[in-house]
Assembly symmetry: C2
DNA sequence: TTGAAAGCGCTAACAT
DNA sequence: ATGTTAGCGCTTTCAA
């Protein structure tokens, strides 16, 4: 039905080994034969079977990408950077979405191994590298993205979260804000910690006390940001600035603040993190820390290609700089 | 290095065919042998090679999904519906992002064929089915999503675009709006046509004239919606309602209207299409036609699974109902 | 320059 | 219940 090199060989009256050589542009095929094979292949609508090729070449020219949320404003842009770069290098990418489910993450890791992908990109929820790395063989090229288990020896690409948070909080401080709240989510514990660290660092540097009642942790979406700030305000804890661990939380916080009768930014300034598309809408204009999402993906792909070139022992860690974007919320 | 069934067979002192049978839960293996094999497989960290399995089974348990834009607020949710459903049925999905590039679309089609996927989902830019279907073998299960070439005989799942547009325009009309503009994009010609058809149908039904100067076509993002309405207004064409082919255009139009000194919705009401997350933000509150994105994906997956069951000749077309969401813009 | 043959890891038909 | 063997489509020695 679908022609194979054997069919071409039969048509051409030659051995299928020669067909293979001709198709792959290897030496040792007469120009005449080569032309004939190519022509025949075209006529018959031949398409190589990548599965069979993968079996013998021990390379599928395919990589896996595991992300927690394909509908988020963050990961798809990272994925785009990866896909563009890998595709140029001749690789396909298997995109796997875990929906924030650690079990599904592990299952995908195993699945990708079975599919014989040549490498795996992962933005994991795991705190310990073991949770990820025990699911795959030691020889599997691995690049962590955005969220990096502390103890890993593998390559990664991430934004400097602590620095981004520091930038945001310093900016608030420079405006004369004195009681700066932190609103975070425990869903992405790794970036939470880094950003919380940056928050503390900025305060400490400016000799501000750290008031634990100004730190609220919850989920990662608007609703949680809204709730966190409402709770804080109704407890009588009134900040004059808020740094939110991500833009969704920040957006929720802005609503919460306004619903509680305060003005943003006059009474309470709000700065987020990520720079999602909504943040730049003129009616929203959220000040935030920009993450270079596409470039994270691009860099991760570059690192992966380097690993392919230099062997599994090669590792590289890249930390990209975030950028503070001041809009109207703070 | 990575153990194969042969390694297990050697360890167990049995033939590798028996190992295969034991692993796959086939009849004709003594409970003792089976247990031993399973145990050994676990110990040795055995993982089946899906590539090798695919070669002999002639099924990779993998499907391809081609979408134009992974960073859009629409496609990822469709992808999620597909992935959830297919994954439950034991399939992986190859996500391919064309970036609105028709050449890349065709290249992916061929690529997926080579990867021997069991089926392909595609949200294509093509107007004619030929552009898609000539790239793949006739026996490849295919399900179109959202945007359907008019002349295809294959299965598809989409929203009733014409009806959605009709709903929106009728709503505007019912408010007493008399000069309703249409702002569209030529980037997705198929949904454009359907939505434009619905627009005309609603006007005709209510005996309103169709004024071509109220119809503006451009790109598909905010900027274009902004420009379209600004141009219209500066030409002296002043609508009292706008139906935009998608929410991004609608958002741009709202800005354009406000920047030109008109009020939304008092002077000009605006209704979009899609119901992207931004539309529901309280500070934006865009009235729009909701598309059941996740359900489109889910349905597409169900159709694909049916094709797998009933053979390639089986086709099914599902048209899902949109829903008008009235918020503050119109 | 070409062909014959082995083998990638696995499944399944056929033997035993 | 288990073993033997062919073969999926392809690449790659090894011979000729």
């Amino acid at each position: 039905m679908i022609p194979t090199i054997k069919d071409i060989a039969a048509q051409a009256g030659i051995s299928y080994a020669t067909v293979s050589r001709a198709l792959n542009g290897k030496y040792g095929v007469s120009p005449a034969t080569r032309r004939k094979v190519l022509e025949l292949a075209h006529e018959m609508g031949y398409r190589p079977n990548a599965i069979a090729q993968g079996l013998v070449n021990r390379s599928t020219k395919t990589v896996g990408l595991i992300i927690p949320d394909i509908t988020s404003p963050f990961y798809p842009r990272v994925a785009l950077g990866i896909e563009d770069t890998m595709q140029q290098a001749g690789f396909s990418v298997f995109l796997c979405n875990t929906n924030w489910n650690p079990r599904r993450e592990q299952s995908y890791l195993e699945h990708l191994t079975e599919k014989q992908v040549d490498g795996i990109f992962i933005s994991s929820m795991a705190r310990e590298s073991r949770e990820v790395e025990q699911c795959i063989s030691r020889s599997m090229p691995l690049v962590y993205i955005a969220s990096i288990p502390e103890d890993t020896k593998q390559s990664y690409v991430r934004t400097d979260n602590a620095r981004g948070a520091d930038l945001a909080v310093s900016h608030l401080l420079a405006q004369g804000r004195r009681r700066i709240a932190f609103i975070g989510s425990t869903q992405e514990p790794l970036s939470l910690e880094d950003r919380l660290r940056g928050y503390r660092a900025a305060l400490v540097r400016e000799n501000h006390p750290i008031d634990e009642s100004l730190i609220a942790l919850g989920e990662f979406r608007e609703q949680s940001g809204y709730q966190s700030i409402r709770d804080m305000l109704s407890r009588g804890v009134i900040p004059d600035g808020v740094f939110a661990e991500n833009d969704l939380l920040a957006l929720g916080a802005v609503q919460g603040i306004q619903d509680a009768g305060f003005r943003v930014p006059q009474d309470i300034a709000v700065v987020g993190f990520d720079d999602i598309p909504m943040a730049s809408h003129p009616d929203i204009a959220l000040s935030t820390v920009h993450q270079p999402k596409y470039r994270i993906g691009q860099n991760a792909a570059e690192v992966m290609l380097q690993i392919f070139e230099n062997g599994t022992d090669f590792t590289e860690r890249r930390v990209l700089e975030p950028e503070l974007l001041i809009r109207s919320s703070g």
